[in-house]
Symmetry: C2
Subunit: 793 residues, 2 copies
């Protein structure tokens, strides 16, 4: 390819054009080198099979496009003084991003053994997708990344999450045309209705339309340009098309387009910041249409490669059996003219190295992409100040999550100046009883707002949209760039983001092994409107399985809490807001429920994670006859009501009540740092007495956490067994045999000294269940003795 000065006045001078093209060639060269080479990195000797990796793993197809954008973004950062990071949606183009951070010098700063010389380049090539090396996708190991390039769909959400409350930040987000087909990505375009140019930075989406996925064309590449344009305008953007396969023309077009777009964005921001927010602007974006595997082999073995799906991964393979492919590879790599790009020592020549921004402006070094560097602790009020007064356990009612909302209101208030705390919810903030937060801030929308709307403003800090994907993705992006947040969600529907949770948990796990990745704030979930409180929404809204899903992840990453009342919920919330690098899962109810612990007892109980409730037990000074354990607010209520019945009818029965707040205490200490030692576990759960355990979720989870404990064979767990419909709250627990009457029967069945003598009481309990069914069939609500029950001891 010969670059000429070409036509009339262009954005790039001939020299600039030559240089930016050379920089791009260098990145492409390094990308191919990473995919193929073990040795001979600069091809200074003829390429031989022994220089080539035996297993060829990597994705070429998207990489030249990613490199093209990186080079132009470098230029834009310098010219327009941008504070920018790069989100690579097609993150399987890992060699491109790694190669670029190597070219700009950041890679060698984080990994000094990958030095900017021949030996370093050789190591750079070898480590890629090689045992003991680095992943083939953009990953936590990649400098400058906040986005794992594995599962597709979340790039644009991460980009928006990053720019919220970062007015100076500019995120260039490359979206693959394959990724664009995913549900999460398809809705995330609408994030622009939540972005306020006064206080937020800018996202530049670049839809990279290279036409193919692994084996299929992409949907957006096969609709007319007019339809695509209409779609993007409908999403609220102003699309610019940069299209072709001639680098010379495309460099000019891209430089020109970047300049125009950045001027537009700056004008939008200037206007909003000078004159205040007036209306949602139409932000520019780019559709970059280039061939898949651009600049790679055009035809191999007579089959077209460039511009087809065959360029997706490794365009040339079978090098051991097809020696002519080695020659093709060599020609391909040499087409980038490495001898013009790298000096004698293997370092990028000075003239090109100057094209990269300096210091922290290099995208691989931007501190926003290593958010822990920027993280400030939240200013937290004393959670004890929000306590519910509990003069006596089980006599007054409160809505736990409403109290939590009051605490969060003041967390919000105290940190308004810092602009580093946001609340996410899929249209459920008030339904989940966090109404109080709206006393100090609003919901945010930059779409049209009408007088009939409630607490909506362009500068609100509560983000509500009916998409769990968006809530999750925004929050991840916000946390990864060093801020704090909380996500409240209906328990059943958090499964919508199971897969996103997986990826975030995996990210956190890997960052624990990367010294330069600083700790970020934990991802905090409140799951409420939970399985036991979805009696009116019915079976479709009843699913506590997210707990199981979370517990599969590494112990150093996840925490699961079941505060049984408002004061314990306050303590747990405070703890989660202070924690770092975890996913904290809190499950708590929103309905008026009996309160058990005053704030001092609650704080101590939460610190221990689980404990014997002496006030509810009557085994003081002796071994109990039975342990009644519970985790979750509704199971705690039912357990205590069962205890009440049993103590009334069997005053000599010694009952120990154990409440579990921190689920991880049940696991062996060897499996989780919160796990109780076997000795402590045995001293609480005894080594041989029956345990009746009432659990919020699926009963098997308790078994899988405790199967190694001494007394496991005496453990009987009640929980959700997929029975439910639209019925009364108490009937929900009855359907799943988690209710007080079943629990009391379980004890009678299991305590040896009650064998035989408990027959009358068992009948009583059975009659209660019959009465219950009759009552609800007639009245449609629970019996007064259920609704009005209080703790009496």
């Amino acid at each position: 390819m010969i670059l000429t000065t070409a036509i009339a006045p262009k954005t790039l001078t001939a020299q600039e054009l030559h240089n930016i093209d050379a920089y791009w060639r260098a990145a492409n060269y390094l990308s191919v080198g990473q995919i193929y080479l073990l040795d001979n990195p600069l091809l200074r000797e003829p390429l031989k099979l022994e220089h080539i990796k035996p297993r060829l793993l990597g994705h070429w197809g998207t990489t030249p496009g990613l490199n093209f954008i990186y080079a132009h973004l470098n230029r834009a950062i310098k010219i327009h003084d941008l504070n920018a990071i790069y989100v690579a949606g097609p993150g399987h183009g890992g060699p491109g991003i790694v190669g670029n951070t190597y070219l700009e010098g950041t890679y060698s700063e984080f990994y000094p053994n990958i030095s900017q010389d021949v030996e370093g380049m050789k190591r750079l090539f070898k480590q890629f997708s090689f045992p003991g090396g680095i992943p083939s996708h953009v990953a936590p190991e990649t400098p400058g990344s906040i986005h794992e390039g594995g599962e597709l769909g979340y790039s644009l959400l991460h980009a928006y999450g990053a720019v919220f409350d970062n007015p100076d930040l500019f995120v260039c987000c490359v979206i693959g045309d394959g990724e664009a087909e995913t549900g999460a990505l398809a809705t995330s375009w609408h994030s622009n209705k939540f972005l306020n140019p006064v206080r937020d930075g800018a996202v530049l989406p670049i839809l990279h339309l290279n036409g193919y996925k692994i084996a299929n064309p992409t949907v957006l590449a096969r609709i007319s340009e007019e339809e695509l344009k209409s779609l993007l305008i409908g999403y609220g953007y102003k699309p610019y098309f940069v299209e072709g396969d001639d680098p010379e023309i495309l460099h000019q077009q891209m430089a020109e387009t970047f300049d125009a777009i950045i001027r537009e964005i700056k004008a939008i921001q200037y206007d909003a910041r000078t004159n205040g927010f007036s209306k949602r602007p139409q932000y520019p974006m780019i559709v970059l249409k280039t061939p898949k595997g651009w600049t790679g082999p055009k035809v191999v073995d007579g089959i077209p490669i460039e511009g087809t799906f065959r360029a997706h991964q490794v365009p040339l393979a079978e090098l051991a059996t097809k020696p002519e492919h080695i020659k093709l590879l060599e020609d391909w790599m040499k087409s980038y003219k490495p001898e013009e790009l790298f000096d004698e020592n293997g370092r990028l020549i000075e003239e090109l190295a100057e094209l990269a921004p300096k210091g922290d402006r290099r995208m691989g070094a931007n501190p926003h992409a290593n958010g822990g560097l920027l993280l400030k602790d939240l200013k937290l009020p004393n959670f004890q100040d929000y306590a519910v007064k509990v003069p006596k356990p089980g006599t007054i009612k409160a809505e736990a999550t409403r109290i939590m909302g009051q605490f969060l209101r003041d967390v919000m208030k105290r940190n308004l100046d810092s602009q580093n705390f946001r609340i996410m919810s899929p249209d459920e903030n008030n339904s989940n009883r966090w109404n109080a937060i709206l006393e100090v801030t609003n919901r945010v929308s930059t779409a049209e707002i009408l007088p009939t709307d409630d607490h909506i403003a362009t500068d609100g800090r509560v983000m509500e949209v009916l998409s769990e994907h968006m809530c999750q993705g925004w929050l991840e992006g916000y946390l990864l760039t060093g801020r704090h947040g909380f996500f409240s969600c209906y328990e059943a529907f958090i499964h919508v983001i199971d897969s996103m949770f997986n990826q975030h948990a995996k990210w956190l796990k890997v960052t624990h092994q990367i010294p330069w990745r600083k700790q970020i704030a934990s991802l905090n979930y409140l799951l409420t409107s939970h399985v036991w409180q979805q009696d009116h929404n019915g079976f479709s809204h009843q699913d506590p399985g997210f707990i199981d899903h979370v517990v599969n992840k590494k112990a150093d990453v996840i925490r699961v809490y079941f505060p049984p009342d408002a004061n314990t919920l306050l303590s747990v919330t405070d703890h989660c807001l202070r924690s770092r690098n975890y996913v904290n899962l809190i499950i708590a109810g929103k309905q008026p429920e009996l309160q058990w612990l005053d704030i001092d007892a609650a704080s101590k109980h939460c610190e221990a994670g689980l404990g014997i409730w002496d006030w509810a037990s009557n085994d003081q000074g002796v071994e109990p006859d039975v342990v009644m354990a519970c985790a979750g607010d509704v199971p705690t209520l039912e357990t205590l009501a069962a205890v009440d019945f049993l103590r009334q009818h069997f005053p000599n029965l010694k009952i120990r009540v154990v409440n579990v707040v921190d689920l991880m205490t049940l696991q062996p200490f060897s499996e989780h740092p919160h796990g109780l030692s076997d000795r402590d576990f045995d001293s609480i759960f005894t080594s041989n007495k029956p345990i009746v355990f009432a659990f919020h979720g699926y009963p098997l989870l308790i078994h899988r956490l405790t199967y190694r404990r001494t007394n496991h064979h005496n453990l009987h767990v009640r929980g959700y067994k997929e029975e439910g419909t639209t019925t009364t709250p108490f009937d929900m627990v009855v359907l799943n045999e988690l209710d007080r009457f079943h629990l009391a029967q379980d004890v009678i069945d299991r305590v040896p000294q009650l064998q035989g003598i408990g027959a009358h009481e068992k009948q009583l309990l059975k009659n209660k269940l019959i009465d219950h069914k009759q009552y609800i069939a007639e009245h449609g609500e629970d019996m007064p003795e259920i609704r009005n029950w209080q703790w009496r001891y």
Copy 2:
């Protein structure tokens, strides 16, 4: 509201207008009645508190819109002779759909106690959202529904799934503007690129823009009409806007629009069916913009209700404490003029009843919505004909899923005439090795097709799109309307549809209790490119947790299979294609792997579900010293390689090898119909010998399935423990200690007679692991002794 003949020539005559409005009023009346009333259904006596339900549960906001559409669709069915069903995206408007099926008579046919008289109406009202009654959402119990109205986002996918291969079917799909924000819905508009008017029916999407969700405005209601129009055109549709709050005007508009649209759709179909497919048509759709809670209370206690988010659920509450609300309710219900709508006996007057279609054309009676009625068995070739020849276990290699693809090719071929079998995959059909299917059909696309594309045609039966949501939703819709299919997916990313699986499994569970719901074909998953074969894609692609997720569902709904080789996979595939009303999960690898069983042995093994592999064991006639169990192809390989080592080094050690294909056999029989009896379990796993179990997924799952078994305390499970990166296949198992060397060490550590004497061999094994690490660091691939290992006994 007084209806006048109004202006010039309209679609509806005055009489027609009056009638359709009256029909709509009747549906609205029944909807409000269901939400509120226990008694006094026709308000023939003054409304009193005792007539009103104590717990008011339901969603009014969307209901009048759903009813409005239903009435007009009834008209269209009659005029245009449509074979139509109704998918209610905002399915929480359950009372509307229930009310309409009651009006048309189908409800009483399915549920004779809900008769079309005063007593029946009273029961209809009472049962709604009442204990022992029906759910408040559209549910399996609702006649005419294939769509649960709980979790939002899947309506349009179900609608498209229903019309594929149903050329005469017309699905009217109402999409809530809240639902439209979800990821799944946002991408599912693109389903039109997979619809072929020659062979498929038509979907009419109606975006119901009523402005609000529970508490927030919707995104699409707050962008300009121009932007919305642009978005929908960009999605490939031709939007018609029907907008306003004056019923008289809207009835005319809606009738006119329906007529125009149906003519357009018929013209599209006629053209395609006469002249063949030429290009993707632009299908019409409707944007229906009406106030939320339309015709309900406008203002309550001085606060606006109609047209605001406050109309979402129950607009009038606190009836016990606010007697004036009872009056408001009575006025509201009487505004529909029930006395004009229902006769003396409480039956819809004849003049209105005639507006509904007849027989199976009534949407509540359409057999497509009870797909089991239409289900035909697949014509299956003999799976044994596809067998891999296995002269001796563990000596030849085959790609299991490729063999499965050959079987599925001929399943496809034999059923091409019936047009009732489709394959779904998120761009992974060939990656998952089902290439053979493309020998007899193509991938389908009705977007642009280029010469560089591979096996893509407008009439293909393989559906590939990079959205697990779309694959899942289409398949659900296809199965629910009585057809068959298979979904192949990378194991890690099937979590994208965790939540959709939940809802489908719940649907199936509920239908088991509904006699009139006929059995449908099972939802079959092949998960491949699994955790042990994602060594090159790395940690982000490694997650076997979907198994855990599935196992939480009811035993009568789910099945999980781990065929260890190609012949067992054939047998399992055949079984799954014959099964009904399950979700079948098959996990199998796609790489060349050693084959163990010939087809006879494989068939028997799969029939049993698990079994002792005598040829691999050396405990014939005696109790073994150790049981080595395995589930999954890679764990089976590693187990047998460990057995090989142990038999070589400890010839006197009696080893029993147990392979598990059907995971559910491990559970107690009381928990799952496939569960082994305790006696059988003990006879296979012994009651006191160590068991070393190599498992494909998370080890805790095996514990939770077996914790009640006699010998559980001797069970030691190896599996995935969230360790992984980009490395070699064998290193993946080493990182998780599931490899042959660790398994052999586990045995040495656990068998009493090897205590002390196994020290030398343990060191050998440790050295092997060191050798392995050194070898891969140098060569980037596994040692030849690993790659070339074969079974020797």
